[in-house]
Symmetry: C2
Subunit: 163 residues, 2 copies
């Protein structure tokens, strides 16, 4: 995922010879864009996530589903789709896998015969409890260059865009 250690700019102001093949391209235009920056930052956090969550066998979407179920027992597939902005067909195999792993179970919905209530099993509860702690730590590490105050501000501003 390229850490780009940044080999010290060194050049004071000079734009450098255009054909001179500088190691690092001028990306200043892209760096003024919220979309570009949000994606680049997300990619970094994702790399931390993939590495630290591999032991649990959880990808980001699995974690989100499990965490949502931990705080919303009995939620339906439809509700998960709405909450996570994913399409119903893409949730099917995901839920089936979590079920076959014994992390969740499907129970008939109390009020709607079409729907299925999703619940964490004891194993699912134990796993997500550990996983959430790991995610909290990985997030702290991925955003270590931010103060707690800055991190709160960052999240608040991101939410002003999508919430």
């Amino acid at each position: 995922m390229a850490s780009t250690p940044k080999p010290a700019p060194a050049k004071g102001e000079q734009a450098a010879a255009p054909q001179g093949k500088p190691d690092r391209l001028d990306a200043r235009m892209l760096e003024t864009l919220v979309g570009y920056n949000a994606r680049r930052a997300w990619l970094i956090v994702s790399a931390f996530f993939a590495e630290r969550m591999a032991p649990y066998g959880l990808k980001q979407i699995d974690f989100s589903v499990l965490s949502l179920l931990a705080h919303n027992p009995g939620a339906t597939s439809r509700q998960l789709c709405n909450a996570l902005d994913i399409l119903p067909p893409n949730l099917v195999s995901l839920v089936a896998t979590l079920d076959s792993r014994g992390l969740i179970e499907r129970r008939p919905h109390p009020h709607d015969g079409r729907a299925v209530g999703l619940h964490l099993t004891a194993a699912g509860e134990a796993l997500i409890r550990e996983a959430e702690q790991t995610v909290i730590q990985l997030e702290a590490d991925a955003s270590a260059k931010l103060t707690a105050r800055e991190r709160e501000t960052l999240i608040r501003l991101l939410q002003k865009i999508y919430l």
Copy 2:
């Protein structure tokens, strides 16, 4: 892409009946995560981008390549890959398409016989000039709930994570 207008919380403290199938699930845990929020915000901007840039026939990656070439004439595929964190095999067909559309052209690299210098054509220059203005506007619209000051802060904090 779900606008989720937020129907006003209203409930003071109560956790609500777990099985009661609330329209909106409790996602407060996920909403404390930088990764989750960055992705959700990026998704919103992406939707604006896809809609407004469709007339130009440019996806985000195409725009990034063209914009980078506008400010770094003669850049190589390898440099674009490094700058955008994409893999060389995935850039090949992309560059080939931009070439066949007459937006860029490949010239032999002055100092390295293996490399190819990528340059915008006049048509490519004209297109990216317009496209950049459209992106600037779409970004402003997508982040309309932020003040100019907040938008700067957001970008600065995102860059502290990945730069």
